[in-house]
Symmetry: C2
């Protein structure tokens, strides 16, 4: 090929304490690209679908891509995958920050971790050299303490660390990973998998240089991208107010998930929204490697009850919704403090908010009583109850132990009809976008291989009217009506999912990339070409996305998922009770039709299984179980 991409993949066996290096050929890299592609590939070849997610046979994958670390805003994300302890199927979760590029500069595109250490360890990757070090001294520390300790132990102030908090150590199935205290691989419980392996952290230092196939072109494109970010309205907004800027609009449109998904508007939304945020707790902007957008917020509050420290990451939109609207809490310092606790303890704030909302609704419905809660009242709107519950969950104590299993298993354990209030898809709690108001995103929640994931689904609202022009290069010419569900919406979702999937394949940030933000499809293709030297195309890249999607689907099918798992929560089949979307809902029968139509579009059979033709088209012939019969 034009440019000799010669990457390395680090393999670490924690049981035998050995490491080795894979060097796939360029064709392999051009087939799987990175992120979702690497994870799909390794899960299917290295993990039996029957394994216990928290057993030594599970494999934990850290995946950059062929372009991670190139000097462009947003080219910094890495994905983590395994079999999920939360869903029992395909897990993948991305984070930004500095860890991904650092890993690349240390010489590795990915890390494949197998086995389980017999006592706590951490990995120390120093410019290609790898040590499996004793981590006993780190066990029990929160993420901040862990980072500080690793700076000391490695002697590198600039070390980049991904770690788990006590939640991961305690195998909470929605425990997350963090890096640099404000970037999180939040979903699908990868913290528990890391904890189950007795792996507290991975510390990386890399000083290598990434070679560019066409350095001049890279410079030119990077400059273009940087300049565009400064003027492209959605990016200007993110720079100015970050994701908290979404609260007001989402609430006004009526799909801000409120009181455990019952309502779409929250009367206290204004207190959580950007203006109040910036007037009260905002301290400074945070950013990621080489990013001009700098959408991160850092917060400070000198308050005895809810002290906020700017090192620990300010709440984003999802946290404001999770611990705010969903719980009907309008106390912004409390929400920010709850978020900070989750960050330090290593709990996914989305699932944590959802499990607390579930508990609060159960309490209000009399399904849980003070007999279950150590005598505490845990009603909607109670900020102290929220903070108390976060601590109890992280400790896995009392009601916290029940809730720490996630809403699905907590409801099973509680019984008494609690499952009526346990909102999850495939076992994973939902992110906070009411699908009744953006039905394309609703389909995305239903069809995401990881369960209800907002990172891989197209946002209907951005494609109304002239907004659809952003998707012209993907062949979509019809403006989208967010609340409508029809065949055109299924097509929008089908194609939009591929547009978004590019970012998860290549490790790009949605906030810097296609289709909404400061990247265009033609410039992205040029950029990938300038970095890799591959004369590529949007067609080839989308084929990579579809390949990754199909691998995830096949893994889930092998784990026993069926079309019944591609569903929505009860509340979205019921009419929105109030607000601008009053009456909006999915019709259950129609919804099954849309799912089948999506299968049909995807080249999947009526059971949601990719056909032999689809596998062959994608070069996934190796997934044909009975190749000679099947074709």
């Amino acid at each position: 090929m034009a440019f000799g991409y010669n990457g390395k993949i680090l393999q670490v066996n924690l049981s035998s304490k050995t490491t080795s290096v894979l060097e796939p050929d360029e064709k392999w890299y051009r087939t799987y690209f990175g992120g979702s592609g690497f994870i799909g590939r390794f899960l299917l070849t290295e993990v039996s679908p029957q394994v216990d997610p928290l057993g030594p046979e599970n494999v934990l994958i850290f995946a950059c891509s062929v372009v991670t670390g190139a000097p462009f805003s947003g080219f910094n994300r890495y994905a983590v995958g395994a079999k999920s302890p939360l869903t029992g199927g395909f897990a993948r979760t991305e984070a930004a920050g500095y860890f991904g590029p650092e890993l690349k500069f240390a010489g590795y595109d990915a890390i494949i971790i197998t086995g389980t250490a017999d006592s706590p360890v951490y990995l120390w990757i120093n410019d290609g050299k790898v040590e499996i070090r004793d981590g006993s001294g780190l066990w029990g520390l929160d993420n901040w303490e862990t980072l500080e300790r690793l700076r000391e132990e490695t002697g590198e102030q600039k070390v980049r660390v991904v770690s788990i908090g006590p939640a991961g150590e305690r195998l909470i199935p929605f425990a997350c990973l963090q890096n640099d205290l404000e970037h999180f691989n939040g979903r699908t419980g990868m913290g528990a998998v890391m904890g189950s392996k007795n792996l507290k952290a991975i510390a990386v230092r890399g000083t290598g240089k990434m070679e560019m196939a066409d350095p001049e072109k890279v410079k030119e494109l990077s400059k273009w991208h940087r300049e565009r970010i400064k003027t492209h309205p959605p990016n200007v907004g993110l720079t100015k107010v970050g994701t908290p800027g979404l609260v007001q609009g989402v609430n006004a449109a009526g799909f801000l998930t409120t009181r455990n998904f019952k309502e779409g508007q929250f009367e206290g939304a204004e207190k959580l929204a950007a203006e109040n945020y910036h007037n009260t707790i905002f301290a400074s902007r945070g950013t990621c490697w080489h990013c001009t957008v700098a959408c991160k917020r850092q917060v400070v509050l000198d308050d005895p009850q809810y002290p906020l420290d700017k090192r620990f990451g300010g709440p984003e939109y999802e946290a404001l919704a999770a611990l705010g609207a969903l719980l009907a809490i309008d106390n912004l310092p409390a929400v920010a403090y709850g978020n900070q606790l989750c960050n330090l303890l290593g709990l996914d704030v989305i699932s944590t908010g959802a499990v607390i909302a579930f508990a609060m609704e159960c309490f209000e419905e009399g399904i849980l009583t003070e007999a279950d809660t150590e005598g505490k009242s845990i009603k909607f709107g109670d900020a102290q109850a929220m903070v108390w519950l976060i601590r109890r969950i992280a400790e896995r104590k009392g009601i916290g132990e029940v809730l720490s299993r996630g809403v699905k298993k907590a409801a099973e354990s509680i019984g008494r009809g609690a499952e009526r209030y346990a909102f999850h898809i495939k076992g994973q709690e939902l992110a906070f976008h009411d699908g009744r108001g953006k039905t394309g995103m609703g389909m995305g929640f239903a069809l995401s291989p990881t369960g209800a994931d907002h990172i891989e689904t197209p946002h209907d609202v951005a494609f109304q009217g002239e907004g659809i022009s952003k998707l012209y290069p993907m062949g979509l010419l019809d403006p989208v009506v967010p609340v409508k569900t029809d065949a055109a919406k299924v097509r929008f979702f089908y194609i939009g999912q591929k547009a978004w999937g590019i970012n998860n394949l290549l490790g790009l940030c949605n906030f810097c990339s296609v289709p909404i933000h400061a990247m265009t499809f033609p410039k992205l293709v040029d950029t990938i070409q300038a970095i890799t030297g591959w004369e590529t195309s949007l067609y080839e890249i989308v084929l990579g996305v579809e390949r990754a999607n199909v691998m995830a689907r096949v893994f889930n099918n092998r784990c026993g998922f069926t079309p019944d798992d591609d569903t929505l929560i009860r509340r979205w089949f019921e009419k929105m009770p109030s607000g601008p979307l009053k009456g909006a809902h999915f019709d259950p029968t129609e919804f099954r039709g849309w799912i089948q139509l999506y299968y049909d579009m995807s080249g999947w059979d009526t059971q949601g299984r990719p056909t032999p033709g689809k596998l062959v088209e994608l070069g996934l012939d190796w997934l044909l179980e009975e190749p000679s019969e099947a074709v």
Copy 2:
């Protein structure tokens, strides 16, 4: 949209002698693009599948594209379509030359001709003005005489004329159209459809200018393309020796169709090949509008028996194979003269050669005797017999009347086992590439909606070893083995068919465009963007190709085609008897498996019908016959 593409489509009703103009919106143009897209769209909406191809209800479509006439080599082709009198299904046939750009400069992207004139007419399109003129004086003239007469009648020496010869007037189902005497819409019998409408010719003069969205970029890209043509090896070869340059290589490789597809090598090939051609009959190079390649050959011979006139077009590869190797004739002047006759009389030289080969083999097998042939011997190798048969076919007299029906119907009429020697797919005679030697092209013959078409099928031989790098942007990374048939070959065909289909969608010449010749996928995308102003992508363009393919398929299905029609000729299921490909053949059972795998890849059901999901994906919801049930 970014650039207001505001084209016009001319509608002509020959029954009522009225004309009108359609002005589709830009979204329509961006959905159907041109060529194969326009034809699919209009056949499905304007033609009932039940119509008599030679009746007034058939519709004849001339289609340029949104980029036809842009100043690039090869951006000059137009397609002609209708229901085919040869196959009874979807017809489409492209030609280059000057007619397409001239039509655009006259203000029209396409012409839709309906009805039948009660006496011969011709169309005179003069910069947007349209006249349906009396053509009685033209009836019976050959193509040369017709052109001369129309220059006089219009008073325009620079008039561009598409016309039919006597073959079209006599409704021979493989009669062709020509323009400028050396460019032919050869296949699928469009000459007969034009004849059935009493339409002898269309004369066009256009002096308008085509607006470019980004004239500077167009200039830059056009210059790049022109310069690349001068150095890109396949183009250098075409410039130097034209398509006759193929004869030697095809013969050496063993897939030069010889003696009615019996063999793959012809002992007299050298006499037909480029060197002898250039030493004996070559006069000058011909070209098409704005083309730097100039692959056309013009020939001259001052010979009483086989006089050659440079105005009438020299034989191309297909003609050399059709009237040479296929008939075992190595007399180059005779072959060139036979080709010249076909050109003037308006017979498709491919079908003409095939029907003569059929007759010769029937004669040698004793199925036809001198009782059928007015006492003449018509054996393989007999040049005089070939010339005599061409004349008899054009006259539809004697054995010529039988043969003029095409091999399929001729064999039915002859009986006596003649169908064993009648080689066609879907009723259309094959172009001259033995599928046993390039199995991807074999699949293309089987699956082409028009029956055995070499213009829309990937040539396996160009993609061996490093050659596959041309198709990297289409996601194909594995080198092709021409003679092998396996799942990888089906994928190669499936994707390669889309790569080739771009040229039929946009009216580009295969010899200037992707994937083999002096255009690359990235530059092509840039070029379309610079011309139209559309921020497009290879993904969007390929979606357009697939849309066109699916429309053609649906039309054929509605005409009653079934999977049994997606087949190969008997001889290709039998072992190649000799030469380097000795023993090569398609296994009939395996072959059915590949066809089913292709359906599966395509999102078609086991009966070869596009699924509702595929139709919706492509925005062809209007083809769902029972939309509410089907989804």
